[in-house]
C-alpha cells in the first residue's frame, strides 16, 4: 500500500508564507478531507505533493522516494485540480487514451459509463467544454486512473447540484470497489461530511487538525442553556465559539469535558457536526492552541 510522507514542508510566495512546516502522512485506504478556508493553502499543498511547484523547504516522499522529478513516485499520484493542463485542441476520448499511456490500467469502461451518465460528449475538444464540463472530465479521469493516491482539489467547482450528487455517488462506488487513498479538498463541508474518514484542517498555513472524523466529533460539544450556568460550566474548558439568543447561550467546546463538574438540569450537552466544528475552529475566534 502506498504511503505519502510530508516532512517539514514550507512554502513561501515572495514574502508571504503559505505553508508552515507541515508534517503529514497519507496512508492506508482512507478518504481524507483537506479542509480550510479560501487561501488556507490547500491547493498549494496538493501542488507540492505532485511536484507541480517546488516547496521552499522540506520534502515529500512517496513510498520512501523523493517526489522531485521522480516519474515513479509522481505516477502513483493523480492530481485533479482547477487548473487546466490538458491541450485545448485535444478531444475528450483522445485525452483518455493519452492518460492511459502514462497511467496504465486506466479503466476505459468506467470512463465511458461516466461520460454517459454525465452526458459528456467524448468527441468534443477540451477547449470547447464549459468550465463545469472540464471539471467533470477531470473528475472522470481521476476516478478511472489506477493511481494509488487520488488528489481532488475542489472537484465539484462549477458542477450543478445534480452533477455534484452524481460525482460523490460515483466516487463512493469507485472507492468501495477499489479502496485507495483519496484526498478531497473543499471549503464546502456539508457535501462531504459523510464521506471523509479523516480530517486535515489547514489554517494560516499550519496543519491545525489531523485526526479521524470520529475522534474529532467525539470531543466536540454544544453546551446549551441559560447564559450564566453555561458559562460557569464551560469556564476553563476549550471553548471555540458560541451562539447566543437573549439569555440563552450555546458554548461550543472542543476537547474533553470536566467530569467532576455537575451539569445543571437547565443545561444540555450535545454533539455538533463537522460543519459547525469547522466554522468555529476557522473563524478566528478560537486562539487557544490545542494541547
Amino acid at each position: 500500500m502506498t504511503e505519502v510522507n510530508l516532512t517539514q514542508i514550507s512554502k513561501k510566495f515572495g514574502k508571504s508564507t503559505v505553508l508552515k512546516q507541515i508534517d503529514l502522512t497519507l496512508a492506508g485506504q482512507t478518504i481524507y478531507g483537506l479542509l480550510g478556508r479560501n487561501g488556507a493553502g490547500k491547493s498549494t499543498l496538493l501542488n507540492i505533493i505532485e511536484n507541480r511547484i517546488p516547496a521552499t523547504s522540506g520534502s515529500v516522499q512517496i513510498d520512501g522516494e523523493d517526489n522531485v522529478n521522480n516519474d515513479l513516485a509522481l505516477g502513483k499520484v493523480y492530481l485533479m485540480s482547477e487548473q487546466n493542463l490538458y491541450s485545448n485542441s485535444a478531444k475528450v476520448d483522445q485525452i483518455f487514451r493519452e492518460t492511459a499511456l502514462f497511467y496504465p490500467g486506466f479503466d476505459f469502461e468506467l470512463a465511458h459509463q461516466l461520460t454517459n451518465k454525465f452526458e459528456l460528449n467524448e468527441n468534443l475538444r477540451f477547449g470547447k467544454l464549459s468550465t463545469g464540463y472540464r471539471a467533470v472530465m477531470k473528475d472522470i479521469i481521476a476516478l478511472a486512473v489506477d493511481a494509488e493516491v487520488i488528489l481532488l482539489d475542489e472537484p465539484t467547482l462549477g458542477l450543478d447540484a445534480a452533477h455534484r450528487e452524481l460525482f460523490y455517488q460515483e466516487l463512493m462506488e469507485a472507492y468501495a470497489k477499489r479502496p485507495r487513498i483519496f484526498v478531497i479538498s473543499t471549503h464546502l463541508i456539508e457535501e462531504i461530511a459523510g464521506l471523509i474518514e479523516h480530517v486535515l484542517l489547514l489554517k494560516d498555513g499550519k496543519m491545525m487538525l489531523n485526526d479521524t472524523t470520529e475522534n474529532l466529533l467525539a470531543q466536540s460539544y454544544a453546551i446549551t442553556g441559560p447564559e450564566k450556568q453555561v458559562q460557569e460550566y464551560t469556564a476553563g474548558l476549550n471553548v471555540i465559539g458560541h451562539d447566543s439568543l437573549g439569555k440563552l447561550r450555546s458554548d461550543y467546546v472542543f476537547g474533553e469535558l470536566d467530569d467532576q463538574r455537575i451539569l445543571p438540569d437547565t443545561v444540555s450537552v450535545e454533539g455538533i457536526d463537522l460543519q459547525k466544528l469547522f466554522i468555529n475552529l476557522t473563524n478566528g475566534q478560537w486562539e487557544k492552541e490545542r494541547a
Partner: protein
C-alpha cells in the same frame, strides 16, 4: 432512508438505526438480503467503512448475518427481537420523558391517564 449529516448522532449509529427501523417496519423482510455496503454507501454518499460499522452493530445484535460472498441477510427472528427491545426501551424512552414533561406542565397523574385513554380512543 434518510441520513442527517448535521445531526449530533454519529453517522454509523444512524445507519444502524435506519436499517433496524426498515427491518422492524418490514421493508427488509426475514431471510431477505439487505442492500450492500457499496449500494448504501453510493446512494447516500456515506463512507463504506461507516456503513460497515453500522451494519456490524446489527450483526452483533443478532438482527442480520453475513453470508460469505452473497451479502447481509435479515435473520428470521429479527423483527421479533426488535419488538422486544423496543418494548423494553418504551418505559425509558417515552413514559419517563412524558412524566417529566407532564410535571413541568402541572398535569397530575389522573390527567395524564385520561389523556392516554383518550389517545387509545377509549373516551
Amino acid at each position: 432512508m434518510q441520513f442527517n449529516f448535521n445531526s449530533s448522532e454519529p453517522l454509523y449509529l444512524q445507519v444502524a438505526a435506519q436499517i433496524e427501523n426498515a427491518i422492524f417496519l418490514g421493508s427488509f423482510a426475514a431471510n431477505e438480503q439487505i442492500p450492500s455496503t457499496t449500494e448504501i454507501s453510493r446512494d447516500f454518499k456515506i463512507n463504506p467503512a461507516t456503513v460497515l460499522k453500522g451494519m456490524n452493530i446489527l450483526v452483533n445484535d443478532g438482527l442480520i448475518e453475513k453470508k460469505r460472498g452473497l451479502g447481509m441477510f435479515v435473520l428470521a427472528d429479527a423483527q421479533e427481537k426488535i419488538r422486544v427491545k423496543r418494548q423494553n426501551e418504551f418505559f425509558h424512552d417515552y413514559i419517563q420523558k412524558m412524566i417529566v414533561e407532564a410535571r413541568n406542565l402541572g398535569l397530575g397523574k389522573e390527567a395524564v391517564i385520561s389523556l392516554v385513554e383518550k389517545g387509545f380512543g377509549e373516551k
